[in-house]
């Protein structure tokens, strides 16, 4: 049994209004299905489900304002239950405690109580290594679930449990922080940006590094590639830049992740957020998930699709809350460089200027080349200039060899 909770789409979010459900009790859902739409300070967002199962109950009502972390729906998992993104379901003990004296619910609670009945420690099947690890980490082994068929707990199960606990704690902290920051009233997008940027400027010691990248090779390759493509399939510079950033991050992963609890947490997945300005003002930062593993064409598809959904207000919850790094680009007009503000808890932001023709030294003489200014904003708590500089060098290399992107 899984509980679908109001997701947190950033540390500043405390609640959102449920606009509508796209499912009803009894519907079968698969991981990734869009089950409803919420109105947040980031605009209208489609919410996705993170496990396979059958909707058993819709707790939240359409039109209701729901705090982050509150149960919105109950989903009966099929077989193994996958971890729900934010907060997992309550432990059986807690839910038993919360059940009011209502006949129907009592039956359910009885079942859960039976399941949570304590098992004597010696009856728990666990490998010696797993037992040792639980002792070392001070983990109660009876709470760890086995992922194997035999029910034996292995070291990886203990580690998965600890990881989940840590994630829960981080989530609780975010909730606390959000409660401090905001009053119960829903916030506008402007206020949400204000809060995040103020927090960033207050807490993050930014360092800035800048590089001018010769874009001739990249743009020539792009234009050549586009000759054979219909307008629907055409590649645009931002798609290529997203891919180049993702590839460079595989070589310098220190910039990909979060600074939380005074520690850098490097993320394995490279989810490149891309700031999209909205016509009505404000911006949203959806992420292209696992951009390093995607082909340029897959990134193209995701990008086109995401930009149009961002502007129509149909981004998905996962896209808006997953970025591990952000790119901001002011497009092809106006400013030539952008010194960005890092979106916490991320540790780097890449500012792309406009590509303009500038004089450059090329092979011993001066040539006019299309040039892109890239400004990296780094969190000096997490990394030093050396790392940032290495990243920019790798990014430049990627763009000098566009054919291998």
């Amino acid at each position: 049994m899984g509980k679908f909770i109001m997701p947190s789409l950033g540390s500043q979010m405390i609640e959102a209004k449920l606009i509508q459900w796209h499912v009803k009790p009894g519907d079968t859902v698969k991981k990734g299905d869009i089950i409803g739409e919420i109105d947040t300070e980031k605009g209208l967002i489609d919410i996705e489900v993170f496990e396979d199962g059958v909707i058993s109950k819709l707790v939240a009502k359409e039109g209701e304002v729901i705090p982050v972390g509150s149960v919105m729906a109950v989903i009966n998992g099929e077989g193994k239950t996958e971890k729900v993104t934010a907060k997992p379901a309550e432990t059986p003990k807690e839910s038993a405690k919360n059940v009011p004296g209502n006949g129907k619910q009592k039956v359910a609670s009885k079942k859960q109580v039976a399941k949570s009945k304590e098992v004597p420690l010696h009856r728990i099947k666990a490998s010696p290594l797993a037992r040792r690890v639980t002792e070392d980490l001070g983990v109660d082994i009876s709470k760890v679930k086995s992922s194997g068929k035999t029910g034996t707990i292995h070291r990886k199960d203990v580690e998965a449990y600890v990881q989940q606990q840590t994630a829960d704690e981080t989530f609780e902290k975010e909730l606390d922080m959000a409660e401090h920051i905001s009053k119960a009233e829903g916030k506008s997008m402007r206020q949400s940006i204000a809060a995040a940027m103020s927090q960033s400027n207050k807490e993050i010691p930014h360092y800035y590094l800048e590089i001018e990248i010769d874009m001739k090779a990249a743009l020539d390759w792009l234009s050549n590639e586009n000759q054979n493509r219909s307008v629907q399939e055409r590649l645009l510079p931002p798609m290529m830049l997203i891919k180049a950033v993702a590839n460079a991050l595989t070589e310098v992963p220190q910039l990909n992740g979060f600074w939380t609890d005074e520690t850098m947490h490097i993320e394995e997945g490279i989810h490149v957020g891309f700031a999209i300005a909205l016509r009505q003002g404000g911006l949203v930062i959806p992420a292209i998930l696992n951009a390093d593993l995607k082909s340029l064409d897959e990134i193209r598809g995701d990008f086109v699709n995401m930009v149009s959904r961002a502007r129509e207000g149909h981004l998905r919850s996962r896209e808006i809350s997953s970025a591990t790094i952000t790119i901001t680009s002011l497009g092809e007009r106006g400013a030539e460089k952008v010194y960005g503000v890092i979106y916490p808890p991320q540790v780097a932001l890449i500012g792309l200027g406009k590509i303009t023709d500038r004089p450059r030294a090329v092979d011993g003489s001066i040539g006019i080349r299309p040039t892109l200014s890239v400004v990296l904003a780094g969190d000096h708590r997490a990394t030093d200039g050396h790392t940032g500089s290495r990243f920019l060098e790798k990014l430049n290399n990627q763009l000098q060899h566009p054919e291998s992107l």
């Binding site: 586009n226 307008v231 055409r234 016509r279 086109v304 497009g331 092809e332």
Partner: protein
Amino acid sequence: MNSSDINTVIRKHLQRVAPEADLDSLNPEDELGPVLDIDSMDFYTMMVGISEDLRVEIPEQEYGNLRTLKNIREFLRKSV
């Protein structure tokens, strides 16, 4: 397809990317980007829409020239 049909399609897609824009006050020689504050993605979306509606292919080398209403109209008149 006549000029007025072409204009209708251009208008429809311009309106989609810049809903609040007053297209009547637009000068045919205005650069659409700065005047309507549309970026390269908006422009791309518009071109895809026009190309699908009019079943016309927009070659890469033409793409950069289509920055004003006048140029877009002329190109479409030739190509449709």
